[in-house]
């Protein structure tokens, strides 16, 4: 089938503001938006700039706004986009070129929640064992691939870029509820900031946007409850 691609283009060296580039591509219904973007880049306009790496929904580098919704270009099928496929870079993030945005502010917020295991006690022997139940507690938030689809779909983040954002909270949740970790209080102090979890207005855009189907708003809610009630253990 023949589908029109409308792609938001911006070259900082020649353009004063972004514009819509229009291209026609021949694709199968089972092709992905990423394949259509490749068709444009490889056969029509080599200057089109985008990020992608694994192309299989794991690395999280090709998150973009597809027909108004945040998604990974490598996970959306052309049969699901209609006659016109409109592709834009992630909202709010500083635009570098075409579909590429500056992810540094996003990763700075990620680093702020100390996203690594902190435990000064060495295990008695060998590895740190964990029960299946304890692992299950934070299973959902281990699925995050840091694509920024959730954070850049969040109206609270659009309104205030100082908001730490759903992705950072999800990453904090992954360690706060890990019983091998001992620094939950440090992370909870970070998230208790005025621009931490309390900026979340439970809009649920993040849940819709997450390509890994993480219950992001539930995770944020659990962190809020941990701040109110303390951790159970």
């Amino acid at each position: 089938m023949r589908i029109q691609m409308r792609i938001r283009r911006f070259n900082p060296e020649t353009d004063s503001k972004p514009w819509w580039g229009e291209y026609w591509v021949d694709v199968e219904g089972s092709d992905r938006v990423l394949d259509a973007l490749h068709q444009v880049k490889w056969y029509q306009d080599g200057t089109l700039t985008l990020r992608r790496s694994c192309a299989h929904g794991i690395c999280g580098s090709d998150a973009m706004v597809i027909n108004g919704r945040n998604a990974l270009a490598c996970k959306v099928l052309m049969q699901d986009v209609g006659d016109v496929c409109q592709v834009e870079p992630l909202r709010t993030m500083p635009l570098i070129k075409d579909l590429v945005v500056d992810m540094e502010p996003f990763f700075a917020k990620y680093r702020a929640v100390l996203p690594y295991l902190i435990n000064d006690q060495l295990p008695a022997s060998g590895e740190r064992y964990q029960s299946q139940e304890a692992r299950e507690r934070y299973d959902d938030t281990t699925k995050c691939i840091l694509c920024a689809a959730c954070t850049t779909s969040c109206p609270s983040f659009w309104a205030n870029e100082d908001y730490i954002g759903p992705a950072a909270i999800v990453q904090a949740h992954r360690f706060i509820f890990d019983d091998r970790d001992t620094a939950a209080d440090l992370r909870l102090r970070v998230l208790n900031d005025v621009d931490g979890v309390w900026r979340c207005r439970t809009v649920f855009n993040c849940v819709q946007a997450c390509p890994r189907e993480i219950d992001v708003t539930r995770a944020i809610g659990e962190v809020k409850l941990a701040l109110i009630n303390g951790l159970d253990d």
Partner: protein
């Protein structure tokens, strides 16, 4: 804690963890929301279905606020006034903090919300304490 190890300078907030009362306010908003769900629905049903809109008059309110049951109604209306105003003013504060990043404008708008809110609470409290027509008598225009 070193939060930043970026190769590029990053604009915006990098340090989180300042002290604040947002978690208490969050809890208040949930609890007041739950209380208001009951009281406002009761208020609406009572006034619209039982009293009926066409019967809500000055005399009707005066009668409701008098006698032993009047104490209940005044307390009930006071709860609507205080909880509703506190919840609403805080909601307005949320919106201002979300969207107005200029500190001076933010302070002015928040001050306006608190100022107008305080006036409304004062007027409502006087009405409830002095009873129907009491505020007018106090001001000599009743």
């Amino acid at each position: 804690m070193a939060f930043s190890s970026s190769s590029r300078p990053i604009k915006g907030k990098l340090r989180y963890g300042g002290t604040n009362h947002e978690h208490k306010i969050w809890l208040f908003m949930r609890l007041s929301g739950l209380v208001m769900f009951v009281t406002v629905v009761f208020h609406l049903l009572y006034m619209h279905m039982f009293v009926r809109v066409e019967n809500i008059t000055f005399d009707n309110i005066a009668e409701r606020w008098s006698g032993p049951a009047g104490v209940f109604w005044r307390l009930f209306d006071a709860s609507l006034l205080f909880i509703g105003m506190a919840h609403g003013m805080n909601g307005a504060r949320f919106s201002i903090n979300d969207y107005v990043h200029n500190k001076i404008l933010n302070l002015m708008l928040t001050g306006l919300v608190y100022g107008v809110g305080a006036l409304l609470i004062l007027a409502g409290s006087l009405a409830i304490i002095l009873g129907a027509g009491g505020l007018g008598r106090l001001l000599g225009i009743g």
